[in-house]
């Protein structure tokens, strides 16, 4: 298990190794979630998808598969936000390096 910390004003994207990615899904009315970016269907980038502000569901941009908020929560690492400080627990060895970035746009966080 690896615990990471970052400020949501500075970073919103985490990469582990070559394929594992997480983005900060942050919509009004829903707790910010370190959402697994990889669509379980064919690997599409969920951060480029759309989200339903009311239900919190996210739709993949590739094949328009929709994931409910509980389904997203089950695939996402344990996360807690205090103010703008985010702490997440990734299910990887503690010494595995991760990269924290800031994506200019997380489309899934934008209003439809």
């Amino acid at each position: 298990m690896k615990v990471i910390h970052f400020d949501s004003r500075d970073q919103n994207f985490v990469t582990v190794g070559d394929h594992e990615r997480y983005f900060l899904l942050d919509r009004p009315g829903h707790a910010p979630l370190m959402c697994n970016d990889t669509c379980p269907h064919r690997g599409g980038p969920l951060h480029l998808g759309t989200s339903d502000e009311r239900t919190g569901a996210v739709t993949c941009p590739w094949h328009e598969t929709t994931y409910t908020r509980p389904a997203l929560e089950r695939r996402s690492p344990a996360t807690v936000r205090v103010g703008t400080r985010i702490t997440a627990v990734l299910d990887i060895p503690a010494d595995m390096p991760v990269t924290l970035d800031r994506k200019q746009r997380i489309l899934a966080n934008e209003c439809l």
Binding site: M1, K2, V3, A31, P32, L33, M34, E73, R74, R75, S76, P77, A78, T79, V80, R81, V82, G83, T87, A88, V89, D91, A94
Partner: protein, 472 residues
């Protein structure tokens, strides 16, 4: 703040107008009335506050984090502490007719009923901001929780305490350390009372785990080993009054918040997950804090202080941290499922945040108290700023000998000038100065202070000092 309840089970909350009626009736109770001394000597039932502040405060408005240490928060925390503590038994060391009458009033069913009606409103007012500040999401498992808690505790136990550093660096470290002990008295003299709320009922092995921690807190039934008794000895070693709530009027809103939070998440058992999360945080981090505090007290006071309270926690709290995790949280999660971990994380983070806010409030108060000796210099500022005393915002007071202004705080910087007589201006039991006519003091926003008239008659005036660039 409230756990989700399906519509069919929901109870209609009391209307705001009802809350207004109940709070006015409650706050005007004689137990909250004007005192004759800053000390509530051997009378834990007398809880002076400032009923006159109520009309300016909307108890139904949740205070944002930025108002955590405001005057509205102080009034609310004083009321809430009183309401919670009517569930606890306090007995004065000496009972007389007045104390007996006060005791009857404190535990009177009608008084308690009014308090119970107000309690949820006050809890929302004072702790509602935690809901906005903290969110928990994702897939929590016991394994991820263990990693998260270990990381958070290691962070908390790293480095020197800012409170300890502030006290050590004070102009008068002894006086600063005394104020620190006084704030701790709000909690430690009835230590673990909130915990005791959680050991009744029937909820499996975790109940026994919590009970073993409670037994330690209560000294295995041996009065001298009880943690509150050990802290009484600490206070006595410094010549401080060690009877419960002798220093009630000097408690900061943040000190009361720490005590009240544990009652808040223990009084209503819908919050039991939050309670055990907060318990884990405090038990797992207190040993290091107490080690630094014990060292500080011995450095400042030498052998003239009893530090057993702090040394005992250095020894026992690492055990309590492990017990809270392995013997309380693990069996609770086994019984309730991983869904409970969200509440446990919330409680852990809520108490961590409250502790950080309380530390800052105490640091600010100690710094204010420590430079109080410069206060009469502020009188010169009044002559260089003649415009201070113009305008409708200036308040003028004319008070008789012995009149007390119960310690309170303002939400903006103020200047206080004595124009006639003598007054004691105090910001804590170890920090008071006498002001004479023509002398003034700058009171920074949200710094606790009170006054007592020393002369036959006393006149003073108070003005907002915002915009004058005055530094207290």
């Amino acid at each position: 703040m409230k756990p989700a309840i399906s519509a069919v089970y929901r109870t209609t909350p009391l209307a705001g107008s009802k809350i207004g009626d109940i709070s006015r009736n409650f706050i005007n109770h004689p137990l909250f009335a004007q005192p004759t001394s800053f000390l509530c000597e051997d009378n834990p039932f007398r809880r002076p506050l400032r009923p006159q502040d109520l009309p300016t405060i909307d108890l139904t408005r949740p205070l944002p984090q930025s108002e955590f240490a405001s005057n509205a928060a102080l009034l609310g925390q004083r009321l809430l502490a009183t309401i919670y503590e009517t569930d606890l038994l306090f007995l004065p060391t000496r009972m007389d007719s007045r104390r007996r009458e006060d005791m009857r009033a404190f535990y009177d069913d009608d008084f308690r009923q009014s308090g119970e009606l107000l309690r949820p409103t006050l809890e929302r007012q004072l702790f509602g901001f935690l809901e906005d500040e903290i969110t928990v999401s994702g897939n929590w498992t016991l394994e991820s929780f263990r990693a998260y808690a270990a990381d958070a505790v290691a962070q908390a136990n790293r480095g020197a305490s800012e409170v300890v550093r502030t006290i050590r660096q004070a102009r008068d470290p002894g006086a600063a350390a005394t104020e620190f002990l006084v704030q701790l008295a709000s909690d430690f003299l009835s230590e673990a009372s909130a915990m005791a709320r959680n050991v009744l009922g029937n909820y499996g092995p975790a109940q026994s785990g919590l009970f073993t921690i409670l037994i330690d807190e209560y000294g295995y039934g041996v009065p001298k080993q009880k943690h509150s008794t050990i802290f009484e000895a600490t206070l006595a070693s410094r010549g401080l009054d060690n009877r419960p709530h002798a220093y009630w009027q000097f408690y900061l809103p943040s000190s009361l918040a720490l005590v009240n939070y544990f009652h808040f998440v223990s009084k209503n058992h819908n919050h039991f997950g939050r309670y055990v999360g907060a318990l884990l945080y405090t038990e797992a981090t207190l040993a290091e804090a107490n080690r630094q505090q014990s060292d500080m007290l011995r450095t400042i006071f030498g052998t003239d202080v009893d530090t057993l309270y702090f040394d005992e926690h250095v020894q026992i709290d690492p055990h309590h941290g492990k017990m809270a995790l392995e013997r309380v949280i693990v069996p609770l999660v086994a019984r309730c499922g991983n869904g409970l971990l969200g509440d446990i994380v919330r409680g852990f983070e809520e108490f961590r945040l409250l502790q950080q806010l309380a530390d800052q409030d105490l640091i600010d108060q100690i710094k204010f108290a420590d430079r109080l000796f410069k206060a009469p210099d502020s009188g010169a500022l009044c002559t260089t700023q003649p415009g201070l005393w113009d305008g409708p915002g200036v308040l003028r007071f004319d008070e008789p000998k012995g009149e007390i202004s119960v310690p309170h705080l303002h939400d903006v910087d103020e200047i206080f000038e004595l124009t006639e007589g003598e007054i004691e201006f105090t910001v804590g039991p170890a920090h008071a100065i006498t002001l004479k006519a023509g002398e003034a003091v700058l009171i920074p926003a949200r710094r606790l202070h009170g006054t007592k008239v020393l002369s036959e008659r006393c006149r003073y005036r108070v003005a907002e000092a915002v915009g004058y660039g005055l530094v207290a």
